[in-house]
């Protein structure tokens, strides 16, 4: 009851203020006020949904949807745009933590199993979705009227984006449940590896799809050069920043939280300025710190301690930014993509785990830890939209976002179930 009263009173308060003064007195007054309200209300909703055994991340997204453009519209598209830097900042923090969770020693122990599962997931999901889309294309409005080379091009893109998995959701649930154990370590390690592989491979996937979607396009050196520059540039920047963090931890030591905030800002801004991939850069920086410094683990713990507002902002804004209306236009294809991805994910993970002679839980349940999609998928959709301007790109993005909406809502719930089933959660609920 307390949580409902607090949330309601904050929302009513916003209404009264807007009623008294439709226009703010100073720039940034509204973003400050709305962000404050979201931080508190989203957490209250998260505590409420926790009671019905749902993850807190779902609560943040639900509140985001409620106050976002499709709900009460406190958090308008304009405000979302103004506050985009906060989202990026949160993402770099989360990715830094994700990288920090990647321990080489641990990876060595599960190398065979992780590699097999990862390969199984990537191959089966990509090939399975690619072929089934070509096979069922006549049943979907969007693909039915396209020529065959266009169908192939779209199938490549859909199958490619289906590979993405949100490290933020994984790390968010693990942090929330303070999960410790083999399954959580394995899911996290594979998720991080997958993020790196997908981000690195995606420019190639786009280049390949282009040869089908845009007439007279072939894979050429200029394109490959661009891809290589982005990938290796991101990795290089991540490594440099990782070593800067290590040097700071060794020689300066003081005021670590401020320093980390600074690093997150540098990551956000530099990747924007130099057109790098923020996720890849941040993950690399986290991996370097964790694996090349004795104090890396303490630092990652430090980040986790101050990460709560960042998770709320990232997932709250993600919820507000969801285009639920996209679902109604593309319901059949969306449903197919979601269900087919789940099926192929299970099959791919099962085959990989079977070959690695894994336990029952890993073979049959752990696939549910790879469902959530968020930032990377939307980012990939944006890249596609920019690459294919006009109707092709925007329709594609619409369908992609619709699938991400569902996967983003299912992901945290599924992964929480996995961790509770594996008895790796150390907190109640």
């Amino acid at each position: 009851m307390k949580k409902v009263i607090i949330t309601t009173s904050l929302l009513i308060l916003y209404w009264i203020i807007k009623y008294l003064h439709p226009e703010a007195n100073a720039a940034f007054a509204e973003p400050t006020l709305v962000t404050g309200i979201i931080l508190i209300s989203a957490y209250m909703v998260a505590l409420l949904v926790k009671r019905i055994k749902l993850p807190k991340l779902t609560g943040y997204m639900v509140l985001g949807m409620a106050v976002g453009p499709i709900g009460l519209n406190f958090l308008t598209r304009d405000l979302l745009h103004q506050l985009h830097f906060l989202e990026d900042l949160a993402l770099s923090f989360i990715a830094l933590t994700a990288g920090g969770e990647f321990k080489y020693e641990r990876f060595r122990k599960i190398f065979k199993s992780a590699t097999l599962q990862l390969s199984g997931q990537i191959l089966v999901v990509f090939i399975g979705l690619f072929l089934s889309l070509i096979l069922f294309a006549p049943y979907f409005d969007f693909l039915a009227n396209q020529e065959s080379h266009m169908v192939i091009g779209f199938s490549i893109l859909f199958a490619g984006t289906a590979l993405s998995k949100s490290p933020a959701t994984t790390i968010g649930i693990i942090t929330e449940l303070r999960a410790k154990g083999r399954i959580s370590e394995m899911v996290l390690t594979i998720t991080i590896l997958k993020a790196i592989v997908v981000v690195m491979a995606f420019p190639l996937i786009i280049a390949w799809a282009k040869t089908y979607l845009i007439p007279d396009t072939t894979l050429n050196l200029v394109l490959l050069n661009d891809v290589a520059r982005q990938i290796f540039g991101s990795v290089f920047l991540g490594v440099i920043i990782g070593f800067i963090i290590i040097a700071y931890l060794k020689f300066v030591k003081v005021e670590q939280s401020i320093f980390l905030l600074g690093i997150a800002v540098i990551l956000t801004e530099f990747t924007n300025i130099f057109d790098m991939e923020i996720l890849l850069t941040s993950i690399m920086a986290g991996i370097i710190v964790e694996n090349f410094s004795e104090k890396g683990e303490a630092l990652i713990m430090n980040i986790e301690k101050s990460s709560l507002p960042f998770y709320i902002i990232f997932f709250g804004f993600a919820g507000a930014g969801l285009h639920i209306e996209a679902l109604s236009h593309t319901i059949l294809l969306t449903a197919f993509l979601v269900v087919a991805r789940l099926v192929f994910m299970f099959v791919g993970n099962y085959i990989g785990s079977f070959l690695a002679k894994e336990t029952y839980l890993v073979k049959n349940i752990s696939w549910m830890g790879y469902v959530g999609q968020a930032g990377i998928a939307v980012g990939l959709g944006t890249i596609i939209e920019k690459t294919f301007p006009g109707e092709i790109g925007s329709t594609f993005k619409l369908i992609l976002i619709a699938t991400v909406v569902i996967n983003e809502l299912l992901g945290p719930v599924f992964f929480k179930y996995v961790l509770i089933r594996a008895k790796e959660s150390t907190v109640e609920g």
Binding site: A26, T35, I40, G262, I273
Partner: protein, 390 residues
């Protein structure tokens, strides 16, 4: 360069500056006063501003207003959080009478002094709101500088007690006064009385509500992460409301802090937990002040503020001494010890600047800055030279 990257630059440069400064042994009292009051950060901010290297251009400065707002709200919040009424009752009532009389006297003496010097002696025009804000800033004493000097030099206990109380309490009074000055300034800007009153009441209600929410939540066990989240979130609500309605951010933060200090048992532990944020916030405040400073050949205004404040402080302290501490032995020149200004006067002029940006309010930052450098030096010299010997 983007706003975010600029912030990082501010913080990193500030760290480098402070680390280097700590390694240098300072023998000059004047330089020591600069170190105590963090003036180097202001200079750093100014060097990076559009006036010098243009690292922070006008667009960035405009975007940084959100940080300004939070830092100012935070400054008010910390003052409020330390003002626990039950704890304040332990001080002799004479301390309160003395400080209240003192700040009122100094404020009015400053207004009269500025008016006389500007209009009658130098024939210079100055807008009334700017003059009132300058007088209020002038009435404040630096608690940090006094505390450091008292600690370092073992000032006589009873005197140290009074000085520290006065410096701390006049900070609280100063912020309350700026809240009420808003009403007057709102009317001066020809807003309706009802509207001004509604806005300030709304901010007070939001601050009370936010304090109430925190107190309510703190009745149950909460982790350190949750505590930080609640404070940051609620402070953003309070500051956002004040910014939205154009009310003093310091005042809004103070009310929120006061509610927390007096309604939850966790106030003390809360202060300890969030103290780590105090230093970086203060550094940001100083650097942003420097970046927004509008340096003009305003020698007359600086002289007027310097002389007017000096005179008002000495006279105000002297009168307060005579009237409140009847029969007690006192230091006739005690006012000099309280000449030190510290960070709050800057926060007051910045608070005014955020709500009324422009060359006039930007100039106030510069005037206060220059005065701080010199008057803090004088105060430090006097404390070391005379009071300590006694």
């Amino acid at each position: 360069m983007t706003s975010l990257l600029s912030i990082v630059l501010i913080v990193l440069l500030a760290f480098v500056g402070s680390t280097i400064f700590k390694k240098i042994k300072i023998r000059s009292t004047f330089l020591e006063s600069i170190a105590y009051t963090g003036m180097l950060y202001i200079i750093l901010g100014y060097i990076l501003s559009p006036e010098v290297f243009n690292v922070f251009d006008d667009t960035i400065l405009k975007n940084l207003n959100i940080l300004f707002a939070l830092v100012l709200g935070w400054a008010g919040f910390l003052v409020g959080l330390q003002a626990k009424f039950s704890g304040m009752r332990r001080f002799p009532s004479m301390y309160f009478r003395y400080t209240v009389t003192n700040i009122i006297l100094i404020f009015f003496l400053s207004v009269v002094g500025f008016w006389f010097l500007l209009k009658m002696v130098f024939h210079v025009q100055m807008e009334t709101p700017n003059m009132l804000i300058l007088a209020l800033a002038g009435a404040i004493t630096s608690p940090i500088m006094l505390a450091v000097v008292v600690r370092d030099n073992r000032v006589q206990a009873r005197l140290a007690h009074l000085l520290q109380f006065q410096a701390a309490f006049d900070n609280l009074l100063g912020i309350v006064t700026i809240g009420f000055l808003e009403i007057g300034l709102g009317l001066y800007k020809q807003e309706s009385f009802g509207m001004v009153l509604t806005d300030i009441s709304m901010v007070i209600i939001v601050a009370l509500l936010s304090g109430g929410i925190y107190t309510w939540l703190s009745k149950h066990k909460m982790s350190e992460e949750e505590e930080t989240l609640y404070i940051i979130g609620l402070l953003m609500v309070v500051v956002g409301t004040a910014l939205y309605l154009g009310v003093s951010l310091l005042f809004a933060g103070l009310i929120f802090g006061l509610v927390l200090a007096n309604s939850t048992k966790r106030a003390r532990s809360l202060y300890r937990n969030i103290q780590q944020l105090e230093k970086p916030m203060y550094i940001l405040l100083l650097v942003l002040a420097g970046a927004n400073m509008n340096i003009q050949p305003a020698y007359i205004l600086i002289i007027v503020f310097f002389v007017g404040r000096f005179g008002a402080k000495i006279l105000g302290e002297w009168v307060a001494n005579l009237t409140i501490k009847k029969g007690e032995r006192h230091h006739g020149w005690l006012g000099i010890a309280n000449i030190g200004m510290g960070g709050l006067p800057l926060a007051i002029v910045l608070d005014f600047y955020v709500m009324n940006p422009g060359p006039g309010s930007g100039l106030l930052i510069f005037v206060v800055f220059i005065t701080i450098v010199f008057q803090d030096g004088i105060a430090l010299n006097y404390l070391k030279g005379r009071l300590i010997r006694k």
